[in-house]
């Protein structure tokens, strides 16, 4: 995807997506003139296939698929060095945040990162139990991500200290929690929320 020739036209430039990013992040993408200061100071830039300045450039060309297919947004540490130093007041950390949010529903987003999976399981857990049930979260995450033995040795220690409970305790007002989830779901269907 990175090296593939880019066909630019009014059809391939997804301006609507860019507008969404701008609305979510509250910053202008067009303002960037590619000075490269964000990438110069980014502590994570070496791990990204699209350094921060290129992320903005791809947004300017409406090529969000190229960004979301990569892992750049997941390596961003939200340290905000880029936003602090940008000469054009482009709040790049907010743009990264917006992209991570938008990647939830986007097609072709990278599966490389487990962040999305963790988020999904976390919310499912809360919906089911009304509170967090860490043992289950850890177990399901390990199974779904295919890393069965990940952090296994930490379990006994946490159990001994009482940080991890064997059995869950359900929230008393589970129906109230369900209402919150249903309402958000409804709003998402209507496009009122992300």
């Amino acid at each position: 995807m990175k090296k593939k020739k880019m066909i630019i036209s009014q059809e391939t430039m997804d301006v609507d997506f860019v507008r969404k990013v701008e609305a979510l992040s509250g910053t202008s993408v067009r303002r960037c003139f590619q000075c490269g200061k964000c990438s110069a100071g980014c502590p994570m830039a070496t791990f990204m296939e699209h350094p921060p300045n290129r992320v903005v450039r791809l947004l300017q060309l409406g090529q969000w698929q190229r960004i979301l297919a990569g892992r750049s947004i997941w390596y961003c540490a939200s340290c905000e060095t880029c936003s602090t130093r940008c000469p054009n007041k482009v709040h790049l950390a907010s743009i990264m945040d917006a992209l991570r949010k938008l990647s939830w529903d986007a097609e072709g987003a990278s599966k490389e990162s487990y962040v999305q999976l963790a988020n999904k399981l976390f919310l499912q857990n809360i919906r089911t139990y009304g509170r967090q049930y860490e043992m289950r979260l850890a177990a399901v995450f390990n199974v779904k991500s295919g890393q069965f033995l990940k952090d296994l040795m930490l379990g006994p220690k946490l159990l001994a200290k009482g940080k991890l409970k064997m059995f869950h305790r359900k929230n008393k007002n589970l129906s109230e929690i369900e209402k919150i989830f249903s309402r958000i779901e409804e709003m998402r269907k209507k496009g009122e929320a992300l």
Binding site: K4, M6, I7, S9, R30, F33, L61, R66
Partner: protein, 665 residues
Amino acid sequence: MSRIGVFICHCGENISRTVDVERVAQQVGKMPGVAFSTDYKYMCSDPGQNLLKKAIQEQNLTHVVVAACSPRMHEKTFRKAVEAAGLNPFLCEMANIREHCSWVHENREEATVKATEIVGMMVERVKKNRVLPTITVPVTKRSLVIGGGIAGIQAALDIADCGHEVILVEREPSIGGHMAQLSETFPTLDCSQCIMTPKMVDVANHPNIKLYTYSEIELVEGYIGNFQVTIKKRARSVDEDKCTGCGVCMTKCPQKKIPNKFDQNIGMRTAIYIPFPQAVPNTPVIDRENCTMFKTGKCGVCQKVCGPGAVDFEQQDQLIIEAVGAIVVATGFDLYTIDEKPKGSLIKGYGEFGHGKIPDVIDGMTFERLASASGPTGGKILRPSDGKEPKQIVFIQCIGSRAREKGISYCSKVCCMYTAKHTMLYHHKVHDGQAYVFFMDARTPGKSYDEFWRRSIEEEEAVYIRGMVSRLYQKGDKIIVRGSDIAVGVQVEIEADMVVLATAIQPQKGADTLAQKLGISYDKYNFYSEAHAKLRPVECATAGIYLAGACQGPKDIPETVSQASAAAAKVMTLFSKDLLEREPIVARVKESGCVGCFACKKVCAYGAVEEKEIRDRQGNLIKTVAFVNPGVCAGCGTCQATCPSKSVELDGYTDEQIVAMIESL
């Protein structure tokens, strides 16, 4: 016997820190011919100058040497002081013991010895100095302006408003130049015609301006204050006095399909024509190459329909001689020819952009005519091939500019800005279209310029792609543009409906020929050279000739207007005196030794060397010798160095003086 006074300056501590000035004064005082020597903290200050004046009068001094800074700094100051004390200013010389000694040495002992030697050299030199009278030249207070674009118009109006007569010569049938062709101007987007045409009318109506259009400079003779200019007024075939500008001739002319150069050849005109409706003068001209009457001898429709009987097929070219005191050169620019290589030129064209083969690949000026309300499409952006509105338009910057391989390594300065303007004009006229710009760098220095460029991206939604286009080709009715985005690092491809190339600015064709007629210097691109890049940017090295506008280098309108007004101010400074005073540092020919080889004439950059015949009393020619016109000579000394028989001497720098200096060491 000369009585020389030597004055040694401490320059605060600048000199006295490393040079023992008192010892220098003492030792120089012992030299033969030196009657007085002293030192002072600041010689250039008022008390310092008074000390010098007092010494000249009290000691009855005949020559003066001031040992201080560079003559470039204070020679004028001290010569003025010497003159005030009653001596000829050219009997005063400066010995540079600051830049040439104290500033570049650390050892006090050695520096003192060197300073003494430098002063000693100047003492020997000044003994040979002669009294030189200031040269005065009468000034003809009329000026010639060559070129009727915005630069020429502005300069002409400024000089004329000051009460001096101006002769404005324009090659084309109308004044206005390239600015009249533009649609809107950056960074304010005001209409070019609206700000240009009133100035054109002012020129036509000004009592002090004599306008020659459809005319060219044939010959320039003379020197500052006294030029004789021969102007060739080409036959218009229409009597300017009789013509009322009604335009009936143009409506009746049967030749209607001649490409109009003013509209970049996309619009058509008749054989008898005015280039554009707002032309000044509003008198048509017959294009003899395309006129049926001139080609076959049969037609004459225009003559038949002309009420006042202004059409005159018999009209001949005229040569007019005008006497002027100053010349402003404002010949402007021409655009780079993309697809052809001009004969004998080092400039190459581009094959890869298909200009000339693909009809919808146009240059920036053609886009200006398309966008102009008075243009061939009435201001609609339409493709030349099928007249459709382009929905995807690609602009490519730096065509010819900054391309060493093509023969031009300079930046044309205006393309970034006018391309930004084009994207805006396009966005205003084609709301559902998209503009793309391929660029290497965006260079927008100037008041409100960068803001303008950013506006085209941030508000007018132009997509700027940093990276150049490698090739473009026709596919169906689309043009495939292949380029790269270097920020992303990928190749990009755009299916465009129209492509606009931002071509480089070049000097006007024939700029070199005109420069040779005027005797002014020009660079390898044929841009005219100014006397000093920073401190004399509107003057030529040749006295009395001034530069305005893009003939000197790429310029935008505000800069051109500023330079034109500056050139006008220089002309007015010249005209403020009845007699022109010049420094008498000029070359003189010793006629007895001159053999008339005229090697000096060949090397003189200012055209100051003339041929002079020496005859006996009966009028028989004895020999022809060189003569240096002191009004033109700039005192550079090239002729002196060239003369094989050592017959040319530069006053103030004679061989005798130089030898005396060397021998004193």
